[in-house]
Each structure stands twice: as C-alpha cells, then as structure tokens.
C-alpha cells in the first residue's frame, strides 16, 4: 500500500475533526463523573438532541442558514441541551442521591431510552442535515484542507479553551474543582454543592449539544439513535484520558479520533479501526489504570 504525505495529513485532519467531537462529548461524561462519581449514560442523548434540535431549527432558514443563523443554531442547541441536562439531573438523578450506585445508573439508562423514543416518535428516519456553508477546500502548499473540518476543529478547540479558562480562573470554576475533589469540605466552605452539580450538568450538556450540531454538519444527517456509537467512543475517550480529568477527556478524545482515522487509513481493512482504537485503550489501561492524566487520589491522613 502506497502511503503519501498527503494521505497521512488527510487522516490526521479526519482524526482531529472526529477527536474534537469525541472530546466535547467526553467532557460531559468526565465532568459529571468528577462531581458525582456517576456515569451519566443518558449523556449521549443530549448530544443527539443537540443535533436533532439543530436540524429542526434549520427549517427557520429555508434558503440555507446565514452565519448569524449558524450562531443561533449553535446557541439554541447548546442552551437547550444544557437545560435538558439540568432537567435530567432534577428528575432522574437528584432524587436518587444517597442511594446505591447502581440505582442512578439504571435511571440513566431509562432516561436514555425515553429520550430516544420521544425523538423516534417525532421523526423515525434519517434526517438530512444540509451543509450550512461552503463545503469547499482551501490549499496549504499542495495540501487540500476542507473548510468544514477546519471549522469543526476550531469550534471544538474554542469551546475547550473557554472551558479550561472557566475552570482554572473563575471562582465558580474553582468551586467546581473543589466539589470534585471533596464535596463535603466544599460544602463546609459555603459552596452550594447541589448548585455546582447542576451547573456541571448544564455545561456538560451544552458541550454535548454543540458536538451534536458539529456531528450533524460533518456527516450531513441526524437520527434518533445517532448518540449510541459516539457516546460509547466519547466515554472511552474519557476513560482513556482519566475519568474525572478535564484535560484528560480532551486528550483522550483527540487521541481516540486520531487512532481511529489512522487505523482506518492504514490497516488492511478500514473496519478494523475500532479494534485498533480499543486495543490501544486496553494497553493504556493495563499500564495506567487511572487513564493517561487520571490521578490516584492519594491523601495524607
């Protein structure tokens, strides 16, 4: 098989695009895990709802969305998925706080099925997500770069940079880290833990909603069951990076995206890409069970 520099570049670009989407979804898993030690298995439906919601909004621009329209779609998809995450927390998880760990997990699976079926009843088929703007390429030297991929990568990086600044620099962001490290002590500092948890759900949901729109743009279609595969991949990314770690989810997402697309490009059969990606995951976890950036919470007593 002949491998040119161009092909490698293309696969790296594909990987970064896919990785950015995985990373955005993975952040929702890892942040909620960070504050509650719970996997929100309904998170992938927030991603799906962001995408389907974005599709629904496109009807407002019959002649194709303008740049302003795209901003509105992103904004509404993010706020909508964020609010839905809040609602999910309120009705499906908060009442179960203090119960055995398996209980909210089952509630999450139930919520996931419920949300999928609601969308299924509304639209049960593949829905075309038209390209919102020029689907062309530009050239860097002799390399072809797609506008759409560049857009997706830039948006996902933009969101992640802002999230990082929020968590590192603001009082609320620091409170979020404090809650994830020791919720009881955070409460003793006067931090309203339940509100910080709600905020975490909102932000995670909003990022998932943004990922949904990006995913719709990238693949050109959305469907009620589209959350499953990216959800599993994003969850894997979060574990690969170290569940509970925000930079870990970003790293894990990009890494998994790259592994998959390089695997698809260079393995004898592209269908082996998932095998390749998951073999790497298993190897990493054998040597670093807490994930790449996960920390074993060793505390002095």
């Amino acid at each position: 098989m002949f491998v040119s520099g161009n092909v490698i570049f293309e696969q790296v670009l594909n990987g970064l695009t896919l990785g950015g989407i995985y990373a955005l979804i993975a952040l929702g898993y890892t942040m909620v895990y960070g504050v509650l030690r719970m996997i929100n298995f309904a998170h992938s439906e927030l991603f799906m709802l962001g995408a389907v919601g974005g599709w629904g909004l496109l009807a407002l621009w019959p002649g194709g969305a303008t740049l302003g329209g795209i901003c509105v779609i992103f904004f509404v998809a993010m706020v909508g998925s964020g609010l839905l995450a809040l609602f999910l927390n309120r009705v499906a998880y908060a009442p179960l706080r203090g119960s055995p760990r398996l209980t909210p997990l089952l509630s999450a699976i139930g919520a996931s099925l419920f949300l999928q079926n609601v969308v299924f009843l509304w639209r049960d088929s593949q829905l075309a997500f038209p390209p919102l703007f020029v689907s062309g390429h530009f050239h860097v030297g002799h390399l072809d770069v797609s506008f759409l991929q560049t857009f997706i990568i830039l948006i996902s990086i933009f969101l992640m940079v802002n999230l990082t600044l929020f968590i590192r620099k603001t009082r609320l962001g620091k409170a979020m880290r404090a809650v994830s490290q020791d919720a009881e002590t955070a409460e003793l500092m006067g931090i309203p833990v339940h509100r910080v948890v709600a905020l975490t759900f909102f932000i995670g949901g909003a990022l998932g909603g943004a990922a949904g729109v990006l995913n719709g743009l990238y693949y050109g279609s959305v469907k009620y069951n589209m959350g499953f595969a990216p959800g599993i991949k994003a969850f894997t990314s979060a574990v690969l990076g170290g569940i509970g770690s925000v930079p870990g989810a970003m790293l894990g997402g990009f890494l998994l995206g790259l592994l998959e697309s390089l695997g698809a490009g260079f393995l004898p059969k592209p269908e082996w890409k998932d095998v390749f990606a998951f073999v790497v995951l298993i190897i990493v976890l054998l040597f670093r069970p807490a994930g790449l950036l996960g920390k074993n919470r060793a505390e002095k007593v």
Binding site: K174, E187, L188
Partner: protein, 236 residues
C-alpha cells in the same frame, strides 16, 4: 453565641450517636470537647455545621436556628468547621485552597486582604502559594486547613482534632496558633483527643462519652479532676 440544646442524632434508624447533648460557646471563649474515639465528638461538630441534621433538639447560632439548615448556609453565617483529617483540596494550589475558604465573602478586595493576612499568620503558606495542596507535609496541611477557615472571616471556629497525627513540635505550634486566633477575638470550639494540651489553652471543657455529655466545667478544674485525669490524661 452558640447554644446546642438536647440534640439527638442517629445514623440510619438503628445507630444512635448523640443522646440529648447540650453545650454552649460564649463570646470570646475557647471551649474544648474531649472524649474517646467513637464518643460522638465529630458527629456533634457535623451536626452543628449542618452536615448532619438532628432528629430533635435545637441549635442556635447568633440568634439563627441552624439545625436542619444546609451546611453551606451555616458556613455563610460565619460558623466555620475545620473537619477531621484536614481535608484540603489535594489537586488545588495553596492559593486556590485559601480562595475557596473565602467563597462566602462577597468582595474581591476583602478576599485579597484576608489572603495577605493569612499568609502573614502562616508564612509557610505564603511561601508555597503556587504549590499543590497534596505536596504539603501533614503539619503544613493542617495550617492550610486552619488558614482556609480563617479566610471565611469566622465568627466561631470549630476545629476537629487539629493535632491528629502530627509530631509533638508541630502540635505545639498548632496549639499556639489556636491561642493566637482566639486572642484576636474569634471564639473556638475545639475537639481533641490530646486533652492535656487542649485543656491548657481552653476556658471551659466538656467531656463526652458514648453520645452523652458526662462532665463539664472550667478547663483548669477538669485538668485536676481525678476522673478526667485517669480517663483522658493518662495520669492516675
């Protein structure tokens, strides 16, 4: 300023931890609560700070009923609890830990001022502001835990076993810091197993056994009380 009246607390339905405990801390006092492991000392502090809610009884702080009030609201009233085992945020820097202590203080300039004041009080923290909490030694972590509580401008400070697991020299330093804080005008409720040191700096003391206050009095009197000496001071 703090009065606890006839408080009953249980874990679950069966395990009763406190059987009608009453206790008071007045303006300007250091009050110490001594007792063995499992006597209910930490349970009492957690109940006062709102982490646990009593089945019955009343807790009043500066005129506010605080039993069955969420802990973050109790903290906002200035009733600040330094939990057992220090419980610093291990992955946050010393500075961030201190900033979290001032979470309830609304004004940025006040938070800055208190940060400088705490760093003067504990120069070791000032030197390590950028270091992660988990890299500090046990004694430094205890200083950080106390410093973090002081960031909240406490009107009453509750300390749960601040000397636990520390070297004798460090213990002495911690107790001298506690007296300093007290002298600067903050009343303190101190829970300790190190009864000797605690009673020496306290005004009054309570002895708790299996969820009941069995003795109370002036610290000086407890220090020479034969029963207390035999049970808690290792002297017969």
């Amino acid at each position: 300023m703090l009065s606890v009246t006839n408080v009953h607390v249980s874990y679950g339905r069966k395990i009763k931890a406190l059987h009608g405990v009453s206790l008071a801390v007045r303006e300007g006092e250091i009050v110490c609560l001594i007792g063995a492991n499992g006597a209910g000392k930490s349970t009492l502090l957690k109940t006062i700070s709102g982490l646990l809610w009593p089945e019955s009884g009343e807790i009043v702080f500066n005129g506010h009923r605080v039993d069955s009030v969420p802990a973050h609201r109790v903290a906002a009233l200035g009733l600040v609890h330094v939990p057992e085992g220090r419980r610093i945020f291990p992955l946050m820097t010393v500075q961030e830990n201190l900033q979290m202590g001032a979470f309830t203080r609304p004004h940025a300039h006040e938070r800055e001022k208190r940060l400088r004041w705490v760093c003067d009080l504990f120069p070791v923290l000032g030197d390590r502001l950028g270091q992660e909490g988990s890299t500090l030694s046990g004694g430094e972590q205890q200083m950080l835990a106390i410093g973090r509580a002081l960031m909240a401008k406490p009107r009453l400070l509750m300390l749960d076993e601040p000397s636990m697991g520390l070297a004798p020299l460090v213990v002495r330093k911690i107790f001298s810091v506690i007296s300093d804080i007290h002298r600067s005008g903050t009343p303190i409720l101190l829970v300790e197993q190190n009864a000797q040191e605690a009673l020496r700096i306290a005004d009054r003391g309570y002895v708790i056994e299996t969820g009941r206050i069995v003795q109370e009095g002036k610290a000086k009197e407890l220090l020479i009380d034969p029963a207390v000496r035999a049970a808690y001071l290792g002297v017969s």
